[in-house]
Symmetry: C2
Subunit: 321 residues, 2 copies
Amino acid sequence: MEFSFLTMGTASALPTANRYPSAHILTVRERLFLIDCGEGAQMQMRKFGVSFAKIDHIFISHLHGDHLFGLFGLLSTMAMAGRSGDLHIYAPESFGRILSFFMEEFGEGIKYKIDFHPVKCKEPVQIFDSRQLEVFAFPLVHRGETYGFIFKEKTPQLNVHKHLIGPHNLSLYDIARLKEGNDLVRTATFTDEDGSVVEYEETLKNEDFTYLPYKPRSFAYCTDTMPFRRLAGWIKGVDMIYHDSTYTKEYEDLAKSTLHSTSAAAACCAIEAGAKKLVLGHYSSRYKSLDTMLEEAKAIFPETYLAKEGMKFEIELEKFK
Amino acid sequence: MEFSFLTMGTASALPTANRYPSAHILTVRERLFLIDCGEGAQMQMRKFGVSFAKIDHIFISHLHGDHLFGLFGLLSTMAMAGRSGDLHIYAPESFGRILSFFMEEFGEGIKYKIDFHPVKCKEPVQIFDSRQLEVFAFPLVHRGETYGFIFKEKTPQLNVHKHLIGPHNLSLYDIARLKEGNDLVRTATFTDEDGSVVEYEETLKNEDFTYLPYKPRSFAYCTDTMPFRRLAGWIKGVDMIYHDSTYTKEYEDLAKSTLHSTSAAAACCAIEAGAKKLVLGHYSSRYKSLDTMLEEAKAIFPETYLAKEGMKFEIELEKFK
């Protein structure tokens, strides 16, 4: 029941010897979601043991090279590795013409189907839906159309407290209705003092007999962006946030002019959203040490962590009994 | 007076965790020439301390992704790093429309001039010419238009043997003419027994008074290609060859069908060309160990070396006195 976020590239526009452009893997159970695909993503994936075959969905936040230029190599490699299943790409609308051009010039060997889902919204909208997970896109504030993504596990089916339903002699149908979240209203009987059977209406309140087996988990991807008021509301209650953290406070002006965030701004967003964990990334190449970056965020939101190439951040499953 | 070849990517079409797609730096004195630019080239360049600013010329052998997909990121990074000087790209003709599309979609911040030199030839042709170096392109045999390149130092100006010209009392003009390779025909005099001055014509043969200060060096880049008869003739006498070595002999059939070479075929080319040194690369991802690859080539051409990411192969300057 893994739910984890692997950071494979923490550089901003200029990569360094150790920091690669943006590329991340969100693992939800057996499924892998690639979020952004900067240059070198496929080599990083090999390095960190990521199986290309398990990726059916790729999310591109925006069409800047440092979030995109690894896609062409990856698509080619997937073809050479014999991929046959459909691949879904979620990206801003104008990715369409980039994909068309790529397919025309380099797509000869690509036999699998690439299904492009243009993202366009001004408020959060659902862009992916499966039995266990849904993904919403929401706009960020950056140069050019940019979207963040929130990945939410769906609320699981309820479990019943066996020791509590025991005395009620419920049918399998009734148990199923409880698990679906319904109250049960049914006709019960009792035998009175003079031996006659009396019918009465009994209500079994769902909340008295059921419990959530685990808390559904969620993750929000918020880069590249400058801070803006509505963001925290859109990702309210999320477990973990990955947030643009291009600069320290010292370069707040530069953050503003380039439409990026400081680590402190990222921390403020995490607090307002009521998140449990904040992961920083997308660091400007000017920083050799990220100590100040981390300190400035931790002073606001203590559960802040620095992303690093190859680092995996897990959201543990909280089980209930 | 460096003349060296740095290999930054030795993978063939499928990169591995340790092998990157094709990208190489030929250093000729202070000048850096980038030869092919597979994905991740800019990160490899950072890793191996290659100065982006010293690269004014990029040579692309052919338009397969593993030789090209690093170029987009590099061009963007050069812009962000403040490049202002012209950049020259030598590539097959159809690179033109790729460059146009790239500039349209991603070129907003690129203020420096990109000068595209389409390569098209059936025999070796000169594509670059400077005071000290010339570069020729020649066709290779591979899927799609593919070119190899030969980099040749020009023959340097001659030096004069000072102790030999001393007795002739030459003017600076005459010395310059000798250095340019001319014989000197001049009127000399001697005084005969009865004291009269006799004029006579004296010829100073250039070869008696001059010598080459060093032997001009050369390097041939031959990938991707299947072996073909004319290649060795075109690169005759070259000091060092980098050659397609995708397979071992075991997979000779695969080499044929994919229009690649075995290491043994590369070695045969090196022998026929009378080269001094052969560097192998572009290995198929099937090989973890390259021992057999190397052995099979060395059995034919002992001065064979395996390229590895970050390895530099030097051609020493042979000086004469």
